[in-house]
């Protein structure tokens, strides 16, 4: 099958949607399909062979943070050329409502179009204002995919219609096979005789995410840390992600700052090893999440998860069965839950086992098969994707050459 995938956000900037598209494309290529990804990227950036650049993205404030988006004549022309050259059986647009390549591709294409909705932002004025503009483009989408039941609900409320739920995929094996790193483990886990020393030993807490993005929730964790350290003074917090480290620990008392270790940006391998090593992974995100792929990655690596009770997180954690939840933005609740978990190795082992069984449904083998089933459903009996010529007046008056 010839598949065209449209990525709305800049390929050179790491992000959940971009990683999802990269993994999906590589999974489909491994299965023997022809895949081409259209993504915004600087012309100098080295791209994988399956990515086609749609030009440089412009930073614009959108959806609560600064997003790098593509629009304008040049981008529209590149979208058309890509559609024309690709002769795809199906195109898969991600985030079609963001004012970027996704929407442009939706305008420009006809034929089987699949769209994945990643975000679930509360009803915004911009959305309501844009509704009549979006509707004609969104009508062309033959199949909608929502990444979670929560994202589907937002979609139904905002735009009407329905969608099938297919979660984001994770390479479970990659995380499960990562080698733990001794310096990121607590002494108890290292000597592997948990219980004896493990009970008194502080343990390690992991956090992965942008430090300077408040919605990722590091400030909540920082507010909870004094209480955790008071109960278990040897606890260490390992923080991976970019941002200002000085500013992040500014709220902590001077002598507690040494318990926080910043690892900076980490590679995928180190991320997996970090998740394999920690005693508890904490996700204190305060909002703006529609899925929570990091929780799935943590569970794949066998890390017990403690997360804020966002709708999306609760869904991924099977309503608390596969990981613990605490009241969103409540630092005290986070602290007491963390202290309880760190002092209870049996509970952590139980969470590890449940998590490992639960993540199978997020593995690419399952998710990829579902996405392919959607492609096959929409391409059944339909013509292949082409540039939509009907938008031209000449075509409408029957003057266009065939």
């Amino acid at each position: 099958m010839k598949i065209g995938i449209v990525c709305p956000y800049s390929w050179d900037v790491p992000g959940g949607v971009q990683f999802h598209i990269r993994d999906l494309a590589e999974h489909l290529i491994r299965l023997g399909h022809q895949v081409s990804v259209l993504a915004p990227a600087d012309d100098e950036t080295p791209l994988p062979p399956y990515v086609v650049s749609a030009g440089r993205a412009v930073p614009v404030p959108y959806n609560g943070s600064v997003a790098r988006l593509n629009f304008g004549f040049l981008s529209a022309a590149r979208v058309r050329r890509w559609l024309h050259d690709g002769t795809f059986d199906v195109i898969h647009i991600h985030e079609p409502t963001s004012p970027s390549l996704g929407l442009l591709a939706c305008w420009a294409a006809q034929g089987p179009i699949v769209a994945t909705f990643h975000t679930s932002n509360p009803r915004s004025r911009a959305m309501i204002a844009a509704y009549p503009i979006l509707q004609p483009a969104l009508e062309k989408i033959s199949a909608r995919i929502a990444v979670s039941e929560y994202a589907r609900r937002t979609l139904v409320e905002h735009l009407g219609g329905d969608a099938v739920v297919i979660p984001n995929g994770v390479d479970v094996g990659f995380f499960a096979a990562a080698e733990p790193r001794a310096e990121w483990q607590s002494k108890g886990a290292r000597s592997s005789v948990e219980g004896a020393g493990g009970r008194r030993e502080g343990g390690t807490i992991g956090f992965i995410g942008r430090i300077d993005e408040p919605r990722k929730g590091l400030p909540v964790l920082m507010r909870a840390l004094p209480a955790i350290l008071a109960a278990r003074p040897d606890t260490r917090l390992l923080v991976a992600g970019r941002g200002d480290e000085e500013e992040a620990v500014a709220s902590l008392p001077e002598k507690m700052r040494e318990r926080v270790e910043f690892l900076g940006m980490v590679s995928d391998e180190d991320k997996a090893r970090l998740l394999r090593s920690v005693d508890v992974y904490v996700a204190p995100n305060t909002g703006g999440e529609s899925f929570g792929i990091i929780l799935v990655e943590a569970m794949s690596a066998g890390a017990p998860v403690l997360a804020s009770d966002l709708d999306a997180f609760a869904q991924v954690l099977d309503l608390g069965a596969a990981g613990e939840l605490f009241a969103n933005e409540d630092a005290d609740a986070l602290a007491s839950a963390a202290i309880r978990l760190l002092g209870d190795p049996e509970r952590r082992t139980e969470l590890r086992e449940r998590g490992t069984a639960h993540v199978r449904r997020f593995d690419w083998s399952t998710v990829g098969a579902d996405i392919l089933a959607v492609y096959e459903t929409v391409t059944d009996g339909a013509a292949s994707v082409a540039a939509d010529e009907r938008t031209g007046l000449r075509a409408r008056l029957g003057l266009a050459r065939d």
Partner: protein, 181 residues
Amino acid sequence: MIETLIWIAVAIVAIGMYLSWTAGRLDRLHTRIDAARAALDAQLLRRASVTQELATSGVLDPAASIVLYEAAHAARQAEEENREVAESELSTALRAVFGETVQVESVKEIPGGEEAALELAAAVRRVPMARRFHNDAVRAARALRRHRTVRWFRLAGHAPFPLAFEMDDEPPVALADRPVS
């Protein structure tokens, strides 16, 4: 005087373009419904065929075979107006037979049973998908057809008012289970 006439002409052309564009949208939606309906028909037929194959293969006990055969046969032969009911009954029959994991396991043990079980699992998963896509297209078309412009100018022509396909498509638990190996 001339100026007024020019403005009137401009307005008429603008309205004409808008109407033509809306008619194009509606036409595209009807095409989408047709494609989605064809896909749904294909998936329903596939599900009935796989079920019938399983029922006549001797893999299942005679009672289950008869129940499945009857339901699958009725679904394939159903007239348009009884289709939704017949397909829902097939769903019920499949749920009754494949409610337990044990039943699916026993099918898998027989030569060729593995593929049959996989095929049936794929079919019961794709029917709800295809139906959701179809009903989504129907909803979009109905929303547009209710619009004033479309009604006043009869842009929909003689195309029948699109109807959603309503049926019970809940897959059997034992088959819907995500792979646990």
